[in-house]
């Protein structure tokens, strides 16, 4: 799937969810949970549904959820995070931590297998990536990615391969 497919705009969640954006998934018509998918064990990690639920749950955070005045989390960034994770995660990819940020964005973090990887959706089309490979195989990244997610794909591929 081309990267651009992940950057579709959605007005609403998840009733307006474009299941075509996730070719690996089949979204049940009467899914009890909006972001619960029927997954192929061949292409998706076992933790994916649970992590998608964690991402989805951030929609329900009220203003000041961090006790320091944070706004509600931007729903479109949640969807983009879910989309990209759904596309890039593989069966041996470790599960990320799902972290809301004080500016209303969402961040996924991996600190495992010798890699520190943080991916933050500052907006639906801008993804900030911080990468540090403690073994030095991957070059460090601390940059905004716009549309070209190849560096992120490479980092996740390396993270997955170390499992």
């Amino acid at each position: 799937m081309a990267d651009e497919t992940c950057l579709n705009s959605f007005d609403t969640l998840p009733s307006g969810f474009d299941s075509g954006a996730l070719s690996d998934f089949q979204v049940p018509e009467s899914s009890p949970h909006p972001w619960t998918y029927s997954l192929s064990s061949r292409t998706a990690p076992r933790w994916l549904n649970n992590v998608l639920k964690e991402i989805d749950a951030l929609r329900h955070l009220e203003r000041n959820w961090d006790s320091y005045g944070a706004p509600r989390v931007n729903r479109q960034t949640l969807l983009e995070a879910a989309n990209l994770l759904g596309e890039l995660a593989r069966p041996r990819t470790p599960a990320p931590s799902v972290v809301p940020t004080s500016d209303g964005a969402v961040q996924l973090e991996w600190h495992t297998r010798g890699i520190d990887l943080e991916v933050r959706w500052a907006s639906p089309t801008i993804v900030h990536v911080c990468l540090e490979d403690l073994s030095g195989v991957l070059a460090p990244i601390d940059d905004d990615l716009r549309y070209d997610f190849l560096p992120l794909k490479a980092a996740l591929r390396e993270l997955t391969s170390r499992g």
Binding site: D66, P91, P94, A95, S97, S102, D103, Q107, D116, C130
Partner: protein, 136 residues
């Protein structure tokens, strides 16, 4: 009104920052729980990062965990004032009627600066539960 660094807050003074449960994440690389960098950010409306001044709590005879009052389940980390100043931040007192130990860390918090704050922070509330197994 521009902020002016408060020289009466010594470099060794500890600044306390609350860390919500979702910001306490497992770090399997280092075998410990870490605060996410997300915990070290200004507010979305532009107001500076709030902290509690440990020295004010101590003078009042309160434990440092008084900064967690009303925030069940949160963790608490401390940062040295000198560290945040070295990162281009200004430290000021900002006492509130119900919170005399309240202070502010003023300044732009880039990814790099927030990372350094995270790395330099120390848990006030021990995070000694075992890390969960990695899920894959």
């Amino acid at each position: 009104m521009p902020y002016v660094d408060d020289a009466t807050i010594g470099d060794e003074e500890r600044l306390l920052r609350r860390v919500r449960q979702g910001w306490i994440i497992p770090d399997h690389n280092r075998g410990r729980w870490r605060p996410s960098k997300a915990a070290f950010q200004n507010s979305e409306d532009g107001s500076p990062m709030s902290v509690h001044l440990a020295a004010v709590l101590e003078v009042a005879g309160l434990p440092l965990t008084a900064a967690l009052a009303g925030h069940e389940g949160y963790g608490l980390v401390s940062l040295k004032a000198g560290l945040v100043r070295a990162l281009g931040q200004i430290v000021v007192r900002d006492p509130l009627p119900t919170d005399p130990a309240h202070g502010l860390v003023v300044g732009n918090k880039t990814e790099s600066r927030r990372k350094q704050m995270m790395e330099a922070s120390e848990w006030v509330t021990p995070q000694d539960r075992p890390l969960p197994p990695e899920k894959a």
